[in-house]
């Protein structure tokens, strides 16, 4: 057993650092630091995606025949860790990490040839059509209907909490193609062009003041049957496969450590009257740091199992639970660290394009919105309550 990376892996780490130093611009870093929502805006995220793609690193988890870099789990770890450490933007997660693996796993050759290169290059920007107003945690009760009409489906219904629907040109969605006894059996996985007639998008502002999510309405929207992934009625299986990716792509500790570092430098600064000298703040910081160490070690255990070809199993739910809780603890501490400056509200977005100097130090601007928006971490992708149900069932066999 050994915690250290080997010589080859260290060489790769050096390569990643050099690539980041050469390609991650100060503008991208600043914009990422000043983004208080879960995802980077596309102009920032896609600029980074294009740089990664040029290097052949556009889709770390994909197989090599579809343009993946053929990395070992350790290399993926190093890459994600270095990106987080450097403060790189999030790429279009819905494309690379969600719909990509589903198309690779279950799509037709035509779908693979058409969609995958466009995800890699950043030409397509994806959003995820899962939740509905009446179907949150009980996702399989979804009602958006796709009725067969010749070579098309006609879609009616609505999707909600759709991240970046206002930026996306494509959506992957779960729709009901059949009324079946078991509600999971009537669901299909479908790829929708967001420019199709009959689609309207309504913005939803979150409590941090950000426009990240939307409600999307479908009014007799025609989608070719050829846009269905895999078999009709098997969408639930594909959707769950994707959720595994959404919940625990397995490498979050580096991002959390970076977030804690930001809070920690604010706390050590005269701007906060050195909040760190408050023993309660110092103590909480240690508790969070230890929680991140714990998470990192669990991630490394999973990684090590993957390296040797073992299946880490339902641990993705355990990780999702802890990642979301720790992230919220970091943002909560951030609010307490900045004290009175947390009362300042900046309504303009994006924060990295303010025309006037804000009333508080710039680096404090995202702190309260991050805390507020961050309440969603224990809700999306299956709430913490749902994750505990899954742990009870899958890990404990209950």
């Amino acid at each position: 057993m050994d915690l250290a990376f080997n010589a080859e892996e260290r060489a790769f780490e050096k390569e990643v650092r050099e690539f980041i130093a050469a390609n991650l611009t100060p503008e991208m870093k600043r914009a990422t630091a000043l983004t208080p929502s879960v995802f980077s805006d596309p102009d920032i995220g896609m600029a980074w995606q294009r740089a990664l793609h040029r290097k052949g690193w556009g889709a770390p988890g994909w197989p090599v025949e579809h343009g993946g870099p053929d990395w070992t789990p350790a290399q993926r770890w190093i890459f994600e860790t270095e990106c987080a450490r450097a403060g790189a933007p999030n790429v279009n997660v819905m494309g690379v990490k969600m719909v990509g693996p589903v198309i690779i796993g279950f799509g037709s050759p035509e779908q693979k040839n058409f969609y995958l290169p466009r995800i890699l290059s950043g030409e397509d920007y994806w959003c995820q059509g899962y939740s509905e107003p009446g179907s949150g945690s009980d996702l399989s009760s979804l009602k958006t209907r796709a009725v067969r009409d010749g070579d098309d489906y006609i879609i009616n219904g609505t999707k909600i909490w759709t991240t970046h629907a206002h930026h996306a040109n494509r959506m992957f969605a779960l729709v009901r193609t059949n009324e079946t006894e078991r509600q999971q059996d009537g669901i299909s996985f479908i790829l929708i062009d967001m420019k199709s007639p009959g689609i309207t998008t309504r913005p939803i502002l979150t409590i941090g003041g950000d426009h990240e999510v939307n409600q999307v309405f479908f009014d007799d929207v025609r989608v070719p049957v050829a846009n269905r992934v895999g078999e009709e009625g098997k969408g639930w299986t594909y959707g769950k496969y994707l959720l595994e990716f959404e919940r625990g792509s397995g490498i979050a500790s580096a991002k959390l450590r970076d977030a804690l570092k930001t809070v920690s430098s604010l706390a050590a600064s005269d701007l906060t009257g050195r909040a760190i000298d408050d023993p309660d703040i110092a103590m909480r910081m240690s508790e969070i740091e230890v929680d991140i160490d714990t998470l990192e070690m669990t991630e490394l255990r999973v990684l090590s199992a993957l390296q040797t070809g073992q299946n880490p199993g339902a641990v993705s739910s355990l990780l999702k639970l802890r990642v979301s809780e720790i992230r919220q603890a970091v943002t909560r501490l951030g609010v307490d660290v900045i004290g009175n400056d947390g009362l300042y509200v900046e309504p303009v977005r994006p924060l990295y394009r303010l025309n006037e100097a804000p009333g508080i130090p710039e680096e404090m601007l995202p702190v309260v919105p991050e805390y507020l928006n961050g309440r969603a971490y224990t809700i999306f992708g299956g709430s913490s309550e749902i994750q505990r149900d899954i742990v009870a069932k899958m890990v404990l066999g209950l």
């Binding site: 057993m1 050994d2 915690l3 250290a4 990376f5 080997n6 892996e9 350790a74 770890w77 760190i276 000298d277 408050d278 023993p279 110092a282 103590m283 910081m285 240690s286 508790e287 740091e289 230890v290 929680d291 160490d293 714990t294 998470l295 070690m297 669990t298 490394l300 255990r301 990684l303 090590s304 199992a305 390296q307 040797t308 641990v315 355990l318 639970l321 802890r322 309550e385 994750q387 505990r388 149900d389 742990v391 009870a392 890990v395 404990l396 209950l398």
Partner: protein, 382 residues
């Protein structure tokens, strides 16, 4: 980066699990609980035969040269059976203090005896006024024409009564005008001036308090060359906390397994307890905390030989985190067993008490979060 067990480590785990599950039955524990020694000398002999006592001792001194990870594998199995043999005192702490501090002659004389099971050790360090601060020692050692004279009091000396030699820490004034340094002394059992008050220890085994009044020791009772021993003590206690963390993981896993089983069998309102979401979620939290404890125990073991600050932060982080998880798992195990969990009729209480003792030993969670913060350069309340 590889966190999978090697073939040798896997075999060690298998043999330890097998030995513990066959030997440490509930009957055995009840019998040992009433034994004045607090453990079985026969089993200690078997530990020696299995090579476990030689495990972390250097090969040059008759050991197997194993590391903190191997010790952790054993300790986790010991936790599952609530083993009360003085492995921590004699091997994890005693042998390490001698290996890291002793002169060559002392190592040659003592380490092989530990490996073959003929020497039991204890470490007398904690004092009432120090709480858990390892640097606070008031016991003094003064040079005499024949050697040393020790005076002071020690508390919570694990396995002191069964030890043939007790390693005592004391302050030595070397006349240099600098603050007194900390030294270690080998004190044989039955030394004049030593009063030992032995008591049964919470969670199994024995411990004692010591009163040293004019204890006379020969000159060669000093362990090593008289250099300040605090850095060695810190390193060895860090290693002991990693080992205890692994033991706690074994205890927690057993509590989780038993509680899971019980909630499936126990029926109320016409259905098993485990059919209730509130119970399922509690069990999910217990499972999660067991897993987190496992990660931290392994991390502390893997960092046991890192540079001092990284090592101590890993050890304190693990002790704090595992302590917190241990208390949760133990308390919930009792809670979910209902009234039966509060009785001596089930094993649950024994495991609970051992975890409570674990959390206390060498300082609880609050102490170690503070140490972790202080080592990271952050302000902490005195």
């Amino acid at each position: 980066m590889d966190l999978t067990l090697s073939e040798e480590q896997r075999l060690l785990r298998e043999s330890a699990d097998r030995f513990v599950s066959e030997t440490y039955t509930a009957d055995h524990r009840r019998q040992i609980a009433n034994d004045p020694l607090g453990f079985s000398a026969d089993i200690w002999k078997q530990f020696a035969d299995l090579g476990w006592l030689a495990l972390p001792i250097a090969e040059a001194h008759g050991g197997l040269g194993g590391g903190a990870v191997e010790v952790g594998i054993l300790m986790e199995a010991f936790g599952r059976g609530l083993v009360s043999e003085p492995y921590l005192s004699t091997v994890v702490i005693g042998a390490s203090l001698i290996s890291e501090c002793g002169t060559d002659a002392q190592k040659r004389a003592l380490l092989p005896d530990i490996a073959d099971g003929s020497l039991y050790l204890a470490f007398a360090h904690s004092e009432r006024q120090a709480r858990f601060d390892l640097s606070k020692v008031a016991t003094s050692a003064k040079r005499t024409p024949d050697g040393w004279r020790l005076d002071g009091q020690k508390t919570a000396v694990l396995d002191g009564n069964s030890a043939s030699q007790i390693i005592v820490s004391a302050r030595v004034d070397d006349g240099s005008g600098k603050p007194d340094k900390l030294c270690l002394f080998l004190m044989p059992k039955g030394t004049r001036g030593l009063a030992l008050r032995d008591f049964p220890r919470l969670g199994g085994g024995r411990a004692c308090n010591l009163e040293l009044s004019g204890v006379q020791l020969p000159a060669d009772a000093l362990l090593g060359d008289g250099r300040d021993a605090l850095p060695v003590i810190e390193a060895v206690i860090d290693r002991a906390m990693a080992a205890l963390g692994a033991e706690a993981v074994g205890i927690m896993q057993t509590l989780l397994d038993q509680t899971l089983e019980y909630t499936k069998i126990r029926k109320q309102f016409g259905r098993p307890l485990s059919a209730n979401q509130v119970i399922r979620h509690r069990l999910a939290d217990m499972a999660m905390q067991c897993d987190e404890a496992r990660s931290m125990a392994l991390r502390a073991a893997l960092m046991a030989d890192a540079e001092p600050i990284a090592r101590s932060r890993a050890a304190s982080g693990a002790k704090a985190k595992i302590g917190k998880c241990a208390r949760f798992v133990a308390e919930q195990a009792v809670q979910l067993h209902g009234a039966m969990g509060v009785t001596e009729e089930l094993d649950i209480g024994s495991y609970f008490k051992r975890l409570l003792a674990f959390d206390t030993l060498f300082g609880g969670s609050a102490h170690h979060y503070r140490r972790h913060a202080a080592l990271g350069g952050r302000a902490v309340q005195a």
